[in-house]
Amino acid sequence: MLAEYIPLVWLFGLCGAVVASIMVATTLLGPSPDDLEEADGGPTPKSQAFECGSEPIGQARQRFSVKFYLVAISFIVFDVEAVFVIPWAVVFRDLGWYGFWTMLVFLVVLTLGLVYEWKSGGLEWD
């Protein structure tokens, strides 16, 4: 059985090697950057992160909007749904009406969740 997965091992290995060698190649072949750091360890104008030519204000790595987390949480809920639905779908013909009703209940519960999130503004962006 597992023999089918042997090509995958090869594939992952090969792709990884190719991508890594590209990375190494570009680092080696391109001109090596210089004066990326001021004497005090600060960035030179060249090595500064891009902010339209102005000096960046504040930190780039800060807490970002909670809405992004909301999406992540919603994703978990609905991706779990997908995880349940897909095996069910594959064997759906065998399950027949019984399978339909059970899944309907499951889906309704989840859809209610979606409706609640929708109504409470969890899917709004401003």
């Binding site: 102005s54 000096e55 204000i57 504040g58």
Partner: protein
């Protein structure tokens, strides 16, 4: 139409309207600079005039003349389609005048430009910064005694960036409800 407006203005504010003229189709009133808010507000709100749009705000530097500056307000009436020009004389030794940014929204930037270019200080302006030149610029370039070819030393780092960090901090402090829940 606006001719009578300018006359009416002259009659109503006899003391502060120094001169009126109508040359080249420009209905102009020269006024005392202290009355600028009063007159502009009157022109804007008066039922029959409704000069509700400030078309242009600029300043002219008449070097060697007293008063040296003239701040010019070009007003337009949207309903009557007429225009008047109000000029306020500003002397060289006291280059200040009242701001009208709350009467006309566009005066905000226009006044900043006049400050930048001529150094006329608008009292009551909320944010009188330079607008076209950089903060560190020395002098007011459109004054007639500023040499056209004058050059200024290169500025190493612009202060505004630093200020923006300060501003960020104060913003953060003043409006904690806008910040994170902490």
């Amino acid at each position: 139409m606006s001719k009578s407006d300018i006359k009416k203005l002259g009659r109503k504010f006899r003391k502060v309207v120094l001169d009126t003229s109508e040359r080249l189709g420009m209905d102009t009133a020269l006024i005392d600079k202290d009355a600028v808010r009063e007159i502009l507000e009157y022109l804007r709100d008066e039922e029959k005039m409704q000069y509700n749009m400030l078309r242009h705000l600029t300043c002219v530097d008449y070097l060697h003349r007293d008063p040296r500056f003239e701040v010019v307000y070009v007003l337009y009436s949207m309903s009557n389609k007429t225009q008047v020009v109000i000029k306020a004389a500003v002397p060289e030794d006291d280059p200040t005048i009242d701001s009208v940014h709350d009467l006309f929204g566009c005066a905000n930037w226009a006044e900043r430009e006049v400050w930048d270019m001529y150094g006329v200080d608008f009292k009551g302006h909320p944010d009188l910064r330079r607008i076209l030149m950089y903060e560190e610029f020395d002098g007011h370039p459109l004054r007639k005694d500023y040499d056209k070819q004058a050059s200024q030393p290169r500025v190493e780092l612009r202060k505004t960036e630093r200020d923006a960090i300060e501003e960020f901090k104060t913003f953060h402090k003043q409006q904690p409800e806008q910040g994170s829940r902490s």
